[in-house]
Symmetry: C2
Subunit: 250 residues, 2 copies
């Protein structure tokens, strides 16, 4: 059943898979050097361009890095949290943009995930985290910010929130998920009044963390979700009306 498709994989895909399996299984460890392109070509009985295509596939997944010159070559890459997050964001962003995910669903998912760190955040938040959040709040309160800048600061604030939970794995997953939704959030046009409201909610969120009250933080996130949803739906409704007018002008 499954093998029907597998039989027709490119050589470069097969070779990439073979090497990838070796990395995943631990046969190749971080910073290990792969054989040179010429040697790999010999081993797999293919030409060097084919090997190179396979290596580029792996490089695109951040599984290897290459260095030129003598004693250079392809090395197994130690994946960092930052790189992994970047990759997940790329994938998630694309997924959202290609599958007409409704604003409601995305918003619900975002805040559901964000709530999952309030208990830990309330327990472990440091002064540095609170400072980082307050710094973003101050930025958001400044007049004259573009919607994109405001939105980016919003992401930064929520990034500080998830980091304050003190769990790098959780940070990685949550920050990636939140950032992936930024393009959707960027559609919203924030009026001065809506910004004021959001800044107030952000302040209350930070205060709740400072007081180490997870329940209060959850409640603020509920409000934030409801308000974000309201703003987003307004935009979507306006856009839908405009589209309807364009297709049926009479």
């Amino acid at each position: 059943m499954k093998s029907d498709k597998k039989t027709k994989a490119d050589l470069s895909a097969q070779i990439a898979k073979s090497i990838r399996d070796q990395i995943l299984s631990g046969a190749l460890l971080a910073d290990d050097r792969l054989p040179s392109e010429a040697e790999l070509a010999d081993q797999f009985s293919v030409s060097r361009p084919t090997v190179r295509e396979a290596l580029k596939r792996l490089a695109a997944q951040s599984l290897i890095r290459t260095e030129r010159g003598a004693f250079g070559g392809a090395f197994v890459r130690r994946l960092s949290y930052g790189e992994a997050r970047t990759q997940n964001i790329t994938t998630s962003t694309l997924l959202l943009s290609m599958n007409d995910v409704s604003f409601e669903v995305a918003c619900e998912a975002r805040y559901a995930m964000e709530r999952s760190c309030t208990v830990l955040a309330a327990e472990r938040r440091s002064e540095a985290h609170l400072d980082a959040m307050r710094a973003e709040i101050a930025r958001q309160a400044k007049p004259g910010l573009s919607d994109e800048t405001f939105c980016a600061s919003d992401v930064a604030l929520h990034r500080a929130l998830v980091d304050s939970a003190g769990n790098p794995v959780l940070s990685y997953q949550l920050a990636g998920a939140v950032e992936a939704m930024q393009p959707l959030m960027n559609m919203i046009t924030f009026t001065a009044r809506s910004r004021e409201r959001i800044v107030d909610l952000h302040s209350r969120l930070t205060d709740a963390l400072e007081a180490r009250q997870a329940g209060r933080a959850d409640a603020v996130l509920d409000e934030l979700q409801a308000y974000t949803l309201e703003l987003g739906q307004g935009v979507m409704a306006a856009r839908a009306a405009k589209a309807a007018q364009a297709t049926q002008p009479g």
Copy 2:
């Protein structure tokens, strides 16, 4: 500062980035056909192998697919939830295996995220979801299962849990995160007694969802997290003792 590194990017990486940006920005839509390799080579003033390397990079990220023959070529790929999840799992699994993440941290992150869907799950779970969970529970109760099979069934149960929240974006993120931790969970050796305990907790979790009581489900997840942690720490301690004995046999 940043541009120091950027100046030395491979041509194939530059070209891949250029095309990727076009896809991300919406200039290229799903199922759009890219120019042929020869045309791209002309446009970017490079050779065809270089273009091919760029395309393989994009293919590795599931951004494009290629078809052979007349009117074939490279097409922008409509990313599905399944493919996106697979990619995220690959990245996350590698991240965990390469950064000596402690069992405690991984476990904490996993259950924190899983708790984020209990409210929605309690509200929206259907009979089908409950049936799926009970089917896995029945499987887990059968004697003679290997640890891997037991663990896989555990993942399937939790997958049903997150799906019951009825939010595909949330499912995608949570299921990916949980599955990525399976290798870590696979280290645990489940005794008959520990399996009995886990099956009991799973049953209570399902019951809580059936009764639509999110708080009860959270409580069960707390217990499950504590017990998983206990089992994992036992394994880690035994492993550490063994390692100490091996390095210092005297």
